[in-house]
Point group: C2
Amino acid sequence: MSADDDAPPADWPKHASEHGANLLLFQPRWDLRTNPRTGERMRRLVLETADWVNVVARTKDGDFVLVRQFRFGTEHVTLEIPGGVIDPGEAPRVAAERELREETGYTSDDWVCLGSVEPNPAFHDNRCHHYLARGARRTAEQELDAGEDVSVCLLGAQALRAAVASGEVDHALVISALCRVLDLRGS
Amino acid sequence: MSADDDAPPADWPKHASEHGANLLLFQPRWDLRTNPRTGERMRRLVLETADWVNVVARTKDGDFVLVRQFRFGTEHVTLEIPGGVIDPGEAPRVAAERELREETGYTSDDWVCLGSVEPNPAFHDNRCHHYLARGARRTAEQELDAGEDVSVCLLGAQALRAAVASGEVDHALVISALCRVLDLRGS
């Protein structure tokens, strides 16, 4: 920060909170806050959301373990890394191992935490934890939830970078994990 | 894709759609679909959401133009790149120029599209468009919405990479834009 920078903004005081109708994936909450810049009170929406996890899994040959699935928001089949919702009380690393195994049948003994991000701090209150699983091998059968239909495929690093560049891989949380492992400049 | 890969999954047929109560930022919609793997019908949530834009703006010296603001989801002040919601009928590039000018007072004559991503295809139907503004200069005053209180600061490339590595910069959509311009491996 240089001397020319603005002073950081203040927090917005919260006066009240009220929950809306549950949306299963989220619990909406309306907070009444004051904008410290103007003194104006306003309602702001929060979607209370469980933490998420996703996994960059690579085989001993360096191939990436990817999943294809129909996504309900964008209504098409995507190419992504495995991931999902962390269960209540479950450690992020345990969830990462579980999601990789359930969605792909792959497991690994060599795990590295790649950090975590805020999926969207404007309205989500959760984090997404990124993991790297090295030397992943197919040792189990898929165990899909009733709400899932997931296909597995392998892609080398060059092909995966090309898939990001072409937009075939374009889920922001997938990009956020992959850029800890691949240089995505020019993608 | 190799010969060992699974066949891609099928789309989920949609039988009906029903909108829920409007959440201002989103219009919830419940779709009734069939899982093609099991034949089971289930309701799936979509948050109909306007497209978003964010901007990697650099001065002629290569510094990055960043913003600090209190975020309602995570209830703390974040360090991010400028961005916001694209207005109805507005072109993404026009929204990028507007958001940069309104939030920071910076403008540029040298714009590059960095591509776009799906913020979360599991439940959002929108895209976030990433732009690079080169040679950005402070030529205007901020024009903040009633719901905003934004401070501006500049950071060099090395300091910004360190801020990603430390987790000070951790909004996934900001990471998704920055990794098109900075190598974030090891961050």
